[in-house]
Symmetry: C2
Subunit: 196 residues, 2 copies
DNA sequence: CGATATTGGATGTTTACAGTTCCACTCTGG
DNA sequence: CCAGAGTGGAACTGTAAACATCCAATATCG
């Protein structure tokens, strides 16, 4: 990489700003730059020095969030083991970067407009998940009557919903993975052999 | 009702503005009033005559959307018949008001901040669905290991996702109800007796 | 310790949108 | 056909946020 080693101070400040932006915008996409500067515990001036234009910070925040998501998914090793077990690991991994997910996927216009503009070499966090789903379909674990893309969307949507519920206290953080996994695996209907 | 019969012109204009607001804001919550005036095919002046403040239009749009959603659900008669059949009717009904749903549920802050402020006698579109879910759980059709509130959130989330997919052409409008119903009923896994 | 980089407060400029006013035009109903 | 309601173009004000500049205080590192 040609990235010149910025002084440690610089890079730490930049990270603080970007992570603060993701965190604040995850909860309020209309938050202003002063709000973000405050959350990052830097002056408005400093923020503007690092990101002369709002658009630049938005792009950096999106890239940072996508990297975090992609990294979490990679750590879950979706290519290994039984597809259901892998899926549970992925859901648990997503929960650890829920802020990033709520930021990027909470505003369709971000994915529509900003991501394509961003670094074209960005890791697409979706791909390994799509691969996992295809593998699961091939092994007869996932429903192959549904398109892999649809299954992936449902995976994101149900996870996202669970993050929101945890956020507002309706769902215990501890139950998150199990609830999402159960819902994805069996839907919302009672199982055949279950007693009412 | 003490609602004095506004001239037909007035009420038609008002409806045009409110429905345009819902439609435009469903796709872009940051859309400006001029954009909405244009979509409604009225002048900016006229819009401001009807809604002197932006906030008023937002509230009217939310109320209009909630009424549409509540009406659609009511028409689906969720209290009658087999819970699964009722659920499918509800999903189909929601699809007919997808714009309203994407508007109200696409921005958490709307539900958090605006709805409570709105007419307190507003029909809560959720309630009949929660009732349906409870009924289904009692009859052993829906999973009673999951909370009714969670099931309802999943119902909304999966439907919402399907609307988005239809919007962007990834899912055929014709397949919407069947896909959502299948996903909700069986999750994303292959059925036991299915052949790979 | 001293040079340089980094920071942030104060202050100013610009832009875009919300909200306002005025008046001429055009429907519509009696 | 004419009176009044309804409409909308144009031009204006106020406000809030984005963006820019200056300089003094402070941190960092050779």
């Amino acid at each position: 990489m040609s990235a010149k080693r910025a002084s440690s101070a610089r890079s730490r400040t930049e990270r603080a700003i970007v992570t603060a932006a993701v965190s604040v915008w995850a909860r309020d996409r209309a938050a202003t730059l002063p709000q973000i500067a405050e959350a990052a515990e830097v002056g408005r001036t400093t923020l503007h020095r690092y990101f002369p234009e709002r658009e630049g910070l938005v792009r950096a925040a999106v890239e940072h969030a996508l990297e975090a998501i992609g990294g979490a998914i990679a750590e879950a090793e979706p290519h290994d083991g039984h597809p259901l077990a892998a899926m549970r690991r992925v859901v648990a991994a997503l929960a650890s970067v829920s802020e990033a997910i709520m930021f990027v996927f909470g505003d369709q216009s971000l994915l529509r407009d900003v991501v394509p503009t961003a670094d074209p070499a960005l890791p697409a966090p979706h791909d390994p998940v799509i691969e996992l789903i295809r593998r699961g379909q091939a092994e007869g674990v996932f429903d192959d009557q549904l398109s892999a893309e649809w299954i992936q969307q449902v995976l994101w949507a149900v996870s996202y919903t669970a993050f929101e519920q945890v956020e507002q206290g309706t769902l215990a953080k501890f139950d998150l993975t199990a609830t999402v996994a159960r819902t994805l695996e069996r839907g919302i209907t009672a199982q055949a052999g279950e007693r009412a």
